[in-house]
Symmetry: C2
Subunit: 355 residues, 2 copies
């Protein structure tokens, strides 16, 4: 593939060609980069067959690969700069050769199918917008997160890309989220819910009242009406639409409450010997439940609406979270979420690449 | 007391005089009125020594009192109309003699110390604003809810009275919440947190960025800075300030997630015999934990900023929830939350009543 510079080896590993274009993984983004990012890449390649290229500073990446005996399996693309975890939009403009910018560039050129990064959300969003640009017709890209509902996940967006939104953007978020549900979760006709403060149509603030009107009238959307905070984990809709401020506070509240409920439970159980005994008998099942509800298990947040798939893993991700993000990115790219968004927004054009 | 019309008996029960003015309890508000409301009143009187008057339609109230053999203990004040659960502000204007309006009237006249209702929140807020009016200097009253944090509850407001707010109102909300924490939970200098989408001061939407500036500069407030959704149940601050839309979505999300975590846990445990065995050994402790996290246990939401204490119990409250709301109302009135708000806002005047 044009543009890849493997640091070791004369030819690219077979996996890159056979399974489609690789995932461009930002090796330098995140609290545990590059060590855990590389470990996650190895896991994605070996356990899930997802082709990866690691983008960043070659030496530490190579050393990490050696620890897994994987230097021949995963190519490296050089990027000498890195955005720090607290750098945001302006820093992105100043660092055209940051690992995240180079990863986006690979997607734009067709040398990678998607970008994955555990770097700062603000930095990834700004770099993505600048380097990949919005799809035709997209007012603003949005961050979508899959909530661990049953029988299948619920997509929540915008989870934080846009702190201020206009009602028209909310209609687009519905289409972005529906495309995600269709491609990643095979939902035939995703049901859309609008997150607000009452079930009756007249309830809410100015933004949600107007968004309700627009969503009700929008063609191509199965709008199920208003939903409230306590409906989020019931699986009653497939996509939940909200503004980025409310979405981010809500998502963090969800994560914090579930974590709180489990830690209170553990504390309660450990306070008594009888209860502890009971705890031993359930340990495996509770661990499985915690795993299902663990944000790291779901592959992270997806930035939808750009000319390329971008997955943002939790900053604190370890190998498992990185691997899950790569698997999610590969699935979204393979299933064509970007063309699907184009179709939904009525601005689809024949893609000249299959991913 | 002037104005009370006991349906039975020639003199008022001693409890009304001895413990201070009674709580005016809207007997007709809520999903399980008047039966569960009356049961809750009986519980508050007998188990907590809180004097109550029941406001509403005399016949069904009296019949319910007879079932508890309590007709001589709790007076009734007649109000022939009732706001339906789905009626809101306009209905309040049309029904000057609704049970909630009459209850507010008792407080205004000094014949009751506080109002408690499980009726529709919109109806209670509208009636309260109309009949009790805002305290001098209060831009908007706010609904405050106590989150079950340890070692003591955290006050969250505005939990839904104002879907749109201005930054100046957020500063007032901080004072209202601080007064609640001081009076109900004896917190000496309540720490205030601003709910937003990032810990750094520059993060948030326009409203929260401006509110941050105002809160930082406001005298008489111990402003601890921004907090995020996952901090809500950590007890890191005493008061969390937000707008009514975000507050309501957040509160419902909290309630829904905790409920979800417990039901998932129960389901997980019941799927296996071994785990079930473990569950038997913990049943009591888990039940206690669920009780602590149960919204009904906390006495409901308090409408702060009016010339009188108003507590809104959950619409689905049973007797225990009603009783807890009455206990909370009595405590707030006795501890003087209304005068304390006046002092904080710099508009305190010597109250001519002690409640």
């Amino acid at each position: 593939m044009r543009g890849l510079h493997p640091v070791r080896g004369d030819r690219l590993p077979d996996t890159a060609g056979a399974s489609g274009a690789p995932i461009a993984l930002d090796a330098m983004g995140g609290d545990h980069a590059p060590g855990e990012v590389v470990a996650g890449a190895v896991q994605a390649v070996r356990e899930h067959g997802v082709p990866i290229v690691l983008v960043g500073s070659p030496r530490p990446i190579h050393e990490a690969l050696l620890r897994h005996d994987a230097a021949a399996e995963i190519p490296i693309v050089r990027a000498e700069e890195t955005l720090a975890m607290d750098e945001g939009a302006l820093a992105s403009l100043r660092r055209p050769r940051s690992s995240i910018a180079v990863a986006c560039h690979l997607v734009r050129r067709g040398d990678a199918a998607a970008v994955v990064s555990a770097g700062s959300t603000a930095g990834v969003v700004a770099t993505g917008k600048l380097r990949l640009k919005g799809q035709p017709g997209v007012l603003r890209p949005a961050i979508a997160v899959a909530l661990p509902t049953l029988p299948r996940p619920t997509v929540l967006l915008d989870a934080g890309a846009n702190a201020e939104v206009k009602p028209e953007m909310m209609v687009q978020f519905a289409h972005l989220g529906a495309a995600y549900a269709e491609t990643a979760f095979r939902v035939g006709e995703p049901r859309i819910g609008l997150l607000t403060i009452g079930s009756e149509p007249g309830k809410g603030n100015k933004l949600t009242k107007r968004a309700h009107e627009l969503l009700s009238a929008a063609p191509g959307l199965d709008f199920a009406g208003n939903i409230e905070g306590h409906d989020l984990l019931t699986g009653v809709v497939d996509v939940v639409v909200t503004d980025g401020f409310t979405g981010n506070v809500t998502l963090k509240t969800l994560e914090g409450s579930v974590r709180y409920a489990f830690s209170e439970l553990r504390r309660t159980i450990e306070e008594s010997r009888t209860a502890r005994l009971g705890g031993l008998l359930q340990r495996r099942r509770i661990r499985d439940l915690r795993g299902r509800l663990d944000p790291e298990a779901h592959g992270g947040a997806v930035l939808l609406g750009l000319n390329g798939t971008v997955v943002i893993a939790h900053g604190a991700s370890h190998a498992a979270g990185i691997s899950a993000a790569c698997v999610l990115a590969a699935e979204l790219a393979a299933q064509g979420v970007v063309p699907r968004i184009g179709e939904r927004l009525g601005t689809a054009h024949r893609p000249h690449r299959l991913w």
